[in-house]
Symmetry: C2
Subunit: 145 residues, 2 copies
Amino acid sequence: MADDLHHAISARLTGADQRYTSGRRSLVDALVDADRPLTAAEILVAGGLAQSSAYRNLSVLETCGVVHRVAGTDEFARFELAEDLTDHHHHHLICTNCGLVTDFTVSDRLERSLEAAMERVAETTGFRPDHHRLDLLGRCADCGS
Amino acid sequence: MADDLHHAISARLTGADQRYTSGRRSLVDALVDADRPLTAAEILVAGGLAQSSAYRNLSVLETCGVVHRVAGTDEFARFELAEDLTDHHHHHLICTNCGLVTDFTVSDRLERSLEAAMERVAETTGFRPDHHRLDLLGRCADCGS
DNA sequence: ATTTATGCAAATCGTTTGCAAACCT
DNA sequence: AGGTTTGCAAACGATTTGCATAAAT
């Protein structure tokens, strides 16, 4: 099924002199199964690793570009698979009440405008943009208005 | 100078049964003087309050809509004055190396596109967007490439 | 006088780290 | 064997909280 994905991840880790251990694979599987970024606590439960191993491996996976850290509005770190592994460029809906983070996409037209804005900033300031982050903050369906 | 601002803030606090104490005014002054979001530590130094008072007052100011919390990529909380007090809608450049957060603006055209995307999401999903957050992540001038 | 804000020191809690045992190659 | 990963328990650090004092109305 997601065999290509695991293969790509394995290659990425090997390239950084890291092993794709069963523990790391569990963490990745948890993220593959989810349709939204997961908190460290959620990954910890789903992955079945000890707390310290989960955090340590998430750190390794992040450094190797397999996993990406997502900033919400609450105090919990959230993680998702890197976009270049899933080929799914997206943005986040963030509930300001319960902290839930879900994915959404925008039109190609808007994406292109965002890219253009990034380039303009690069020309104007000393800042070198790498990626953008577009989030919508509000109330999720469960938290109503 | 920024007398209107302080007056508006005072009114906003009073409306929430809170006082605009000298300590709170110090915190606000620190934010007024800055041209970018400040970390709690920076505000603490500039404001001259005890740590606990600074955090407690920032919390009050945030609840009353005077101050807004800004999410960077590091572990430090950052704060800025609420946009509806400064009339300066803007976005953030976030350095992925040192954590520095600075302000930038985009064209009205792009802002309108973002608003339109928000409305589309509201119609499509159960999510009720309130505001958006557009950040550019990369290297600040000091951190080079 | 009564309520609210302050500062100090201690507690909280998500995350990180030291270390000895288990694992891989 | 040699180096890496694991799990446990302890440490860490930004933020929060309890409590007695000071300030404001």
